[in-house]
Amino acid sequence: TTRTPEFLGISHESGLFPESESVTDVVVGVLDTGVWPERKSYDDTGFGPVPATWKGACEEGKDFKAATACNRKLIGARFFCKGYEASMGPVDESRESRSPRDGDGHGTHTSSTAAGNFVQDASLLGYASGTARGMATRARIAVYKVCWTGGCFSSDILAALDKAVDDGVNVLSLSLGGGQSDYFRDGVAIGAFAAMEKGILVSCSAGNAGPGTASLSNVAPWITTVGAGTIDRDFPAYITLGNGMNYTGVSLYSGKPLPDEKLHFVYAGNVTNSTNGNLCMSGTLIPEKVAGKIVLCDRGINARVQKGAVVKEAGGAGMILSNTAANGEELVADAHLLPATAVGEKTGNAIKSYLSSEQNPVASIIFGGTKVGVEPSPVLAAFSSRGPNAITPAILKPDLIAPGVNILAGWTGAAGPTGLAVDTRRTEFNIISGTSMSCPHVSGLAALLKGSHPDWSPAAIKSALMTTAYSSYKGGKPLLDVSTGMAATPFDVGSGHVDPVQALDPGLVYDITPDDYIGFLCAIGYTPLQIGAVSKRNASCDSGKKYSVSDLNYPSFSVPFETATTGAGGAGSTTTIVKHVRTLTNVGTPGSYRATVTAAAEYVKVTVEPAELSFKQVGETLSYTVSFTAVSQPSGTSSFGSLVWSDGKHVVASPIAFTWT
């Protein structure tokens, strides 16, 4: 990636986060669409021998030869398609490779984001130019191709996880999801449990089903669930209408610009015979009414870049793509095939108003290239999936957010940057968006932490990433949610935006053992069979013991209250007290930490006992009890707060989410 290392403070220029040579012993396993191994991101110059513990392989296919594909950087490449082929029929080798080769681009993008080597003079058609690099440039990469044109099947994912753990990966990165299901039915959750037991951190994307609530994937507590935010970079495009009004959108268009004079401008909904012609679906535009004009299309249903292709095919000269309420003001840039720009809902409505009021509307679009230093940033992406956690409401998810909007990283040689069949351009890099892009940022950062602290458990690394994440801008104002323009909540950003420099030295961590997670499974009422399916253990819960989800030593707090159903006063008449016990482990220098709590609502009170913890040595553990006292509220109410431990140098922060159901 370009820019995100600077944005995250880990660029070598900063000198804050020098990568230790021990990172070369860390292997990041990426389950995705495979890899385009010829990309410079996988150059192994300067890498020593493959770690002796590595048991992986470079599987061959017609177009994938181990001798040339794998090296000391890309140390493993496997593919898994038995499940896919059993359901969908044989892989169509005229369309995709029956090998680890990535014909899609997604897998090359994610693996190079996590751990790609330095590549100078990187850009997409001149946009986002700079030196591209992954988060952990010295880590090794192993790819496991599990996604094919028809999807990613759980039998293949489980087989890949089985192999990856056997092979000896240290971090697993999965930018995929399958909706919401119980952990014992979820192949990713099951695979991640075993990986966690072996000391492997598993980072997964939260999903792109935002801004709707309870839209998360990959919410098992042993997984690190990553949402997406923007960085301080933009690709502006400037629109001028015939009435003199100017608007700004975003675009990655790179080609012949529009003529200097303004062009005729039409709304797609008015140049179609189709009821949904405003969406610029294939074959819905009337060429005679579109030819040579700029067309305004509404976002939704079909791919954004496909809308551009539809306008181009109909003879249009350019396109303005308007967000609807579903996306609000979020602007995602695309490398359109014709001069085109995306605009937010408000701008789109203003432009539509002009189109409907003007008899002979005209417009122009000028492309502004790359702009950095955009503020505020980060801002939560509208598409980023949101809590509450629908499977286990008492575990707060997502865990944190990371850069996931307009991310430049490596790309396949088999498809153009739009991914459309008609796109014959080939680029070494592409700029795309999604929680798929934020997840490998965290995977790579976890690899850096693993290299610096080889003895830390996956839970300790996750805790370090979470408790040092920031939830406000430098001026103190809370991180914003682009879908509302308002402050993001812990249901949106979890602990906040990852801050790897702080995560390197978190001071204290909330550690969790595999046995603790078994207690969690007992707490959520799993039967011995279900626990066995998740954990492979013959575990039975102790009938004499009271298990509670709040016993899990999680680095954040979710406190679901039940709304009082009795009492003349209704809501507000009943007070409930919920207690959580947590244990902190000192991973820094000896010191005394004091607790500070905040709660946004007056009907919630948070107390911590003891309010001061003094650690005398590294590895020492001390426990505290936090009590949440709340007056009953109407069902559907939510409120937020935070608990921060600090010794004056370290800040160990946990978000708190309260809900009433």
Partner: protein
């Protein structure tokens, strides 16, 4: 339909393998053959879970789930890129 096959993940308790088997894969094969004449096994799993995946009819999956040592028989899920 009742006769159409789809993929299931079969989770087993490895420690409950009957004594007459030496290899787990033999136990898996025998379990599968006991419920189906034609079921094909896709993968066996031995690290992140114990068990196998196979193409089964719903009735075969149900019969397999009732066998000793089987923890769960879960229909395959399709995941998508984010």
């Amino acid at each position: 339909g009742k006769t159409s096959k789809k993929t299931y993940i079969v989770h087993v308790s490895k420690s409950q393998m009957p004594a007459e088997f030496v290899e787990h894969s033999h136990w898996y094969d025998a379990s599968l053959q006991a419920v189906s004449d034609s079921a094909e096994m896709l993968y066996t799993y031995d690290t992140v879970t114990h068990g196998f995946s196979a193409r089964l009819t719903p009735a075969e999956a149900e019969a397999l789930a009732a066998r000793a040592g089987v923890l769960a028989v879960v229909p395959e899920t399709r995941y998508h890129l984010h």
